[in-house]
């Protein structure tokens, strides 16, 4: 069963259902003509897939040429409908009451893709090559477009991963490679990238098959934007883009939350063994309320009577683990009172060495498996 909706600009759209079983192009064109008779010849006509095939086979394009209106393609239609009126587009007509409710939003529906593309770059303060930027928003699931953003996405992804790692190595020289990789993976995950992209207006411009777009599609498109920027301008410009918009997501995050160390007590011990330092000795520093529900123990790790780290918890084993984590923080240079990451002005001239690596877990500890398992 087909349907026609007209009057995308007006407050009261026309909607007519085509008779079941008879949705041939003659019927459709006849219905359209009654609508055009009431409202005049439209500037644009949006056609959805099933209808499009039917109309094309019987020369709807010709009909459009005769009457002087432009037929929108499926992709453009999707773009228009994806923006605000998704429910309405998926079940045309059946959501009429809902449509009426959102009339105010509906009036804001019609968009100009060219202007949106132009201002996307301007908003971010970057000069994009327009064709590259357009390609960056085309997902491979979009059947309308010839090319997709896969290549740009892989370029952007590689660039971003290299830069994020180099930046983190610069900021945390004591953090093992495993930690650097884990944090990079977190930042490059679909979840984080799609969150960033959604707050920069990327989903509005994406051309892809299904709405709502999956996190993967949005993240992929964002990676492609990074790739497009690198190709439009240069790599260092794209790197600053990554620094400003992706790396800032680390603000306020505890890195030990992102990089979960399973056995901190074993790890700190094995690091000290490898370095040939003295035996670590956990000692109970304080205890309070031991027989109550609010018991608190504080444990400290000592090496040759020197305090390495301390932590507290509601039981001695938990406190010991927390103390080990604190000691690891001190060893890796992740103290809670460490200086903030260099962003903004400070982050502009970092002179990062992209080839330098931090020590890996195997290099600093005698038994890295303890942590990895």
């Amino acid at each position: 069963m087909g349907s026609i909706t007209a009057g995308i600009y007006s407050k009261y759209p026309e909607y007519c259902k085509l008779p079941k079983g008879d949705s041939s192009s003659e019927t459709t064109i006849a219905e359209l003509e009654t609508i055009f008779g009431r409202f005049g010849i439209p500037v644009e006509v949006f056609v959805r897939d099933v209808l499009e095939r039917r109309l094309q086979c019987l020369g709807f394009v010709l009909y459009g040429d005769q009457n002087g209106f432009v037929k929108c393609t499926e992709g453009e239609l999707k773009y228009h409908l994806n923006l605000k009126f998704r429910d309405f587009s998926s079940q045309t007509g059946y959501e009429f009451h809902q449509y009426d409710k959102h009339c105010a939003q509906f009036e804001c529906l019609c968009r100009n893709y060219d202007s949106e593309i132009y201002s996307f770059g301007k908003r971010l303060g970057e000069e994009f090559n327009e064709n590259l930027l357009r390609t960056a928003f085309v997902d491979r699931s979009d059947v309308e477009s010839a090319d997709s953003n896969e290549e740009l996405a892989s370029t952007g992804s590689k660039l971003a991963v290299t830069y994020i790692k180099a930046y983190l190595r610069h900021a945390y020289p004591g953090l093992p490679e495993e930690g650097i990789s884990t944090i990079t993976e977190h930042l490059m995950s679909d979840q984080v990238l799609s969150y960033v992209a959604s707050n920069l207006g990327v989903p509005d411009l994406i051309k892809a098959e299904n709405w709502p777009f999956s996190e993967e599609v949005i993240a992929n498109s964002f990676k492609a934007v990074i790739g497009a920027l690198a190709e439009s301008q240069n790599v260092s410009r794209a790197e600053l883009f990554v620094q400003d918009l992706v790396l800032t997501q680390l603000i306020g995050r505890d890195l030990f939350e992102l990089w979960d160390i399973v056995n901190p007590v074993g790890l700190i011990q094995s690091i000290f063994n490898k370095q040939g330092r003295g035996e670590l000795e956990p000692r109970l520093l304080w205890e309070a309320g031991s027989d109550t529900v609010v018991s608190s123990y504080m444990v400290g790790f000592y090496e040759n009577k020197k305090l390495i780290g301390k932590g507290f918890g509601e039981s001695v084993p938990i406190a010991e683990e927390m103390a080990a984590r604190d000691a690891l923080r001190n060893v890796f240079g992740l103290k809670l009172n460490r200086p903030a990451l260099p962003f903004g002005k400070e982050g502009r001239n970092l002179n990062l060495d992209l080839t330098k690596l931090n020590a890996s877990m195997a290099q600093i500890s005698s038994s890295p498996q303890q942590q990895l398992n």
């Binding site: 105010a104 201002s119 301007k122 959604s198 507290f312 903004g344």
Partner: protein, 187 residues
């Protein structure tokens, strides 16, 4: 309405905006107006005299003009976080529309709520959770209380008495030192 039941929120920033670079959060504006009626006069004036300047200064904001016959004019703004705000500009002069547009441009797009506090931090405590052992030297484990040494007052600087005594000592030993005079003038 008592403040307890009105919706409230904490002060927040969208996407750490401004830490790396500032991204104007206003994404698009739709200005609908009538070409002929009086209530839209200010809107028409705005479009003729101020709109181009606004677009030149803010290339990141897409502006749509939507002429609608015999409708009252209104401003529909959309932010990058997906929120939309609509405002009637019925019978507004062009200057007012300029100011309102500037208001929308400089906003973060987060819904305006009663703020619980005028400041917010994700890490409210630098020293961490308080425990009975916070800032407690472990030597107290083996100290017998009451302890004269620990109970001693620890002045952060020299007291007046001590200063006079040291000045008197210096006088007794010879001429007053420069240091002592310097301290006097500080008082």
């Amino acid at each position: 309405m008592p403040s307890r039941v009105t919706p409230s929120s904490y002060l927040r920033n969208v996407l750490q905006n401004g830490v790396g670079r500032y991204v104007c959060q206003l994404q698009r504006v739709t200005l609908s107006f009538c070409k002929s009626t009086n209530p839209s006069r200010g809107a028409r004036d705005f479009i003729e005299n101020h709109l181009l300047e606004f677009t030149r200064n803010n290339p990141g904001v897409v502006i749509y003009l939507d002429p609608k016959r015999h409708h009252s004019p209104k401003l529909c703004v959309e932010y990058l976080n997906g929120r939309t705000e609509t405002m009637s500009i019925d019978r507004y002069p062009a200057e007012d529309i300029c100011q309102w547009l500037d208001h929308f441009r400089t906003r973060s797009g987060v819904q305006i709520n009663r703020l619980r506090k005028n400041w917010h931090t994700d890490t409210p405590s630098i020293q961490g959770t308080w425990t009975p052992a916070t800032n407690r030297p472990t030597s107290w484990n083996v100290t017998e209380f009451p302890c004269q040494e620990i109970s001693r007052r620890l002045p952060d600087k020299e007291t007046a008495t001590e200063r006079i005594l040291s000045a008197a000592k210096a006088l007794r030993e010879g001429s007053p030192t420069n240091a002592a005079i310097g301290k006097e003038t500080e008082l």
